[in-house]
């Protein structure tokens, strides 16, 4: 044993440290968590690998996605929006899933994993409430205890989703620390898990957190892109010119991008929330205006000050109101495979109304950022170009908030 005599010298051991988290995207990702969680992350990694090789698991997942979630979700051609934009616009309708957003794709898969690992208590964080509702829903379906952490500010903005979670039998715990939004809800969920890891599984809602979460959540969401790619080929005989999705943590974007990453001719565009403007300090554009740092267990882009303190994010959309972003997005940006742009609160609100009036589809405020980017860039494409936009969720949850803003006047 090194250091039997001199305890101060042992850290200079010449033994290399084995890298227990090869699960990185370039330099991004990793497992920057308290020691207590390491065995649970190992267990999850192993359980997930086994499950994906087990036909009984994958067939049950497929069956749940079909019969419970309602997949495949439709691909909708948007004729009037197409005319407005000057390109052929197709919408991937995750808003038509059970519970009204893409979040359930991940929640179903992770609930099945939790059951497989023998964990009967589920923890989740939520921002807009969509991931909380999806998690509460699958916990009801599988008879699992469910505790959802939600910032007090978000509980105010998304009162309806709070009621839905409680109706579904979940305990919603208000988080009053820090910014009282998704960032602090995530911290509080991690704190719960540090104390309950032996009997609880943390269903993280986005492609963030320590490895293996970013990969698991991406894989479970990649059904969006697999379906959409096949649907585009069937419908148009080709691939889209551009795939567009909003990015907070970035799960719907990774979900739709993943199937297209190897199609080098397809442009991938992630839309961050510019809030009150990129120069206002009140935005959630981690990739556009952040820098690499460690938050919630992984190394990625982050809104932070020069001392490494995390800056509060802002977006009109609670689901994008997060100062970090999934590590795979940081990687796709650095290798120039995806482009990240941003859309302000007011642009998103205009698109919220635009899609409602042109297509009879009320998008979630999050998804409205993706719609807004093509609307703001109208005229940039030719009539024969096809654009694929992920409508990650429906806007019913946002109607009360937006009506208070007097948008229609």
């Amino acid at each position: 044993m090194a250091g039997k005599k001199d305890a101060t010298a042992v850290a200079n051991s010449q033994q290399p440290i084995a890298n227990s988290s090869p699960d990185r995207f370039g330099e991004f990702g990793g497992r920057y968590v308290p020691e207590t969680l390491i065995p649970a992350l190992d267990q999850l990694t192993a359980a997930y690998a086994e499950a994906m090789e087990d036909p009984s698991f994958t067939s049950e997942l497929d069956e749940m996605l079909r019969d419970y979630v309602g997949r495949p979700s439709p691909l909708t051609f948007a004729p009037r929006l197409s005319e407005h934009v000057g390109a052929r616009v197709f919408l991937k309708r995750e808003d038509l899933n059970h519970t009204g957003a893409h979040k359930i794709n991940n929640a179903v898969g992770q609930a099945l994993l939790a059951r497989r690992m023998g964990k009967r208590r589920i923890i989740a964080e939520t921002g807009a409430g969509q991931h909380g509702v999806a998690t509460a829903t699958v916990c009801a379906r599988f008879g699992l205890e469910c505790v959802v952490y939600m910032g007090e500010e978000d509980m105010r903005r998304q009162e309806l989703n709070v009621f839905r979670m409680r109706l579904l039998g979940a305990t919603v715990v208000p988080v009053s620390s820090g910014t009282r939004t998704l960032k602090d809800a995530t911290s509080e969920a991690i704190r719960d898990w540090v104390g309950s890891v032996n009997d609880s599984h943390y269903i993280i809602g986005s492609v963030v957190g320590p490895a293996p979460y970013p990969r698991i959540v991406r894989d479970l969401q990649s059904v969006i892109g697999r379906e959409a790619r096949a649907q585009m080929l069937e419908r148009t005989g080709g691939l889209p010119k551009v795939v567009v999705a909003c990015v907070g943590g970035g799960s719907n974007a990774m979900g739709i991008f993943h199937a297209f990453v190897d199609d080098v001719g397809v442009e991938l565009v992630g839309v961050e929330a510019a809030g009150r403007g990129l120069d206002s300090m009140e935005h959630s554009a981690s990739l556009a205006r952040g820098s690499p740092g460690v938050l919630h267990g992984s190394l990625s882009y982050l809104l932070q000050d020069e001392h490494g303190q995390v800056r509060p994010a802002h977006s009109v959309s609670a689901g994008l109101d997060y100062p970090g972003v999934g590590p795979e997005h940081a990687y796709l940006m650095e290798i120039h495979r995806a482009t990240y742009v941003s859309i302000s609160d007011s642009e998103a609100l205009r698109a919220f109304a635009l899609l409602s009036r042109l297509e009879g589809i009320i998008p979630a405020l999050e998804s409205a950022h993706a719609v807004a980017w093509i609307a703001e860039n109208r005229g940039r494409w030719s009539d024969s170009d096809s654009l694929l936009v992920c409508i990650s969720g429906r806007g019913d949850k946002d109607v009360a908030q937006v009506s208070d803003m007097d948008l229609l006047s």
Binding site: G3, P34, I38, R191, G293, V310
Partner: protein, 265 residues
């Protein structure tokens, strides 16, 4: 204590534990959040804790998102940030206090990374003896772990109740100063009642390392400190001191003095 108090510059952690061992005493490791409740109170607190018999002091760098901490240290961290405290100003507070007990810089990784590649050199120059990074477990980032191991500071590693046996030797081999054994599941914070039985984990650690083993998390009363000190080489007290410091420096110092007496008595 006489031998220790004669040392002017900061003492190494190993020498402190050797001295304690020679006297058959156990270490009292005390945590404070730099800048809480105020920068000047931190200076007084560091001096007061040394006078009350702290053997090692952990100086906590405030962070905006302390996921391993319970409500007391979270609130202290938020207060320190509101006071404008940074990693470098934490080091300045240590300099002003001029204590001679070994001091461990206790931080999350992000403020340390933001402080730049020469942050560890600045810490050493300020008299820091060791460093503990809450969210950098063994193997998480070999390059940055090597940076810490080569810094000349002792690299304090954590062992949790969930740590499997096959990680223990690696954690000790790639750590130095002492091993910090987390006595129970969960975040930092005070708990009522008897502390967890850490005897079996301490025995496992002793079979793989000669590093001193200090036990922390949830130790808030003199009786708990005394009970735990019988099972390990040292006791770490955090939230209880921070809570008391929120009332007054004197309250925190009195708490530490009573713990010292309970452990030595």
């Amino acid at each position: 204590m006489e031998s220790a108090s004669e040392i002017i510059s900061s003492e190494s952690i190993a020498r402190r534990f050797e001295a304690l061992r020679a006297e058959s005493r156990r270490a009292l490791v005390c945590y404070v959040t730099a800048g809480h409740p105020s920068p000047s109170a931190t200076v007084e607190l560091l001096q007061g804790l040394e006078g009350a018999g702290a053997d090692v002091i952990e100086l906590g760098v405030p962070f905006s998102d302390p996921v391993a901490d319970g409500p007391v240290i979270q609130a202290s961290s938020a207060a320190a940030l509101a006071n404008g405290v940074t990693l470098d100003s934490s080091l300045e507070l240590l300099g002003r206090a001029g204590v001679s007990v070994p001091v461990v810089l206790f931080t999350y990784l992000n403020p340390l990374l933001a402080a730049g590649p020469d942050a560890l050199g600045r810490a050493a120059a300020a008299g820091i003896a060791g460093i503990l990074v809450t969210d950098l477990p063994l193997g998480a980032d070999p390059a940055r772990e090597a940076w810490l191991a080569r810094s000349g500071l002792d690299f304090i590693r954590l062992v949790a109740p969930t740590t499997p046996d096959d990680r223990l030797a690696g954690i000790c081999e790639h750590g130095s100063g002492f091993v910090y054994l987390i006595s129970r599941m969960g975040v930092t914070g005070t708990r009522d009642g008897a502390p967890a039985d850490v005897g079996p984990m301490v025995r496992k650690l002793r079979s793989v390392t000669d590093l001193p083993v200090c036990v922390g998390f949830g130790i808030s009363t003199p009786a708990q400190a005394r009970a735990v000190s019988k099972m390990a080489d040292g006791v770490v007290v955090g939230s209880a001191i921070v809570q008391a410091a929120g009332d007054s420096v004197e309250a925190a110092v009195n708490l530490v003095r009573s713990m010292r007496e309970a452990m030595d008595g």
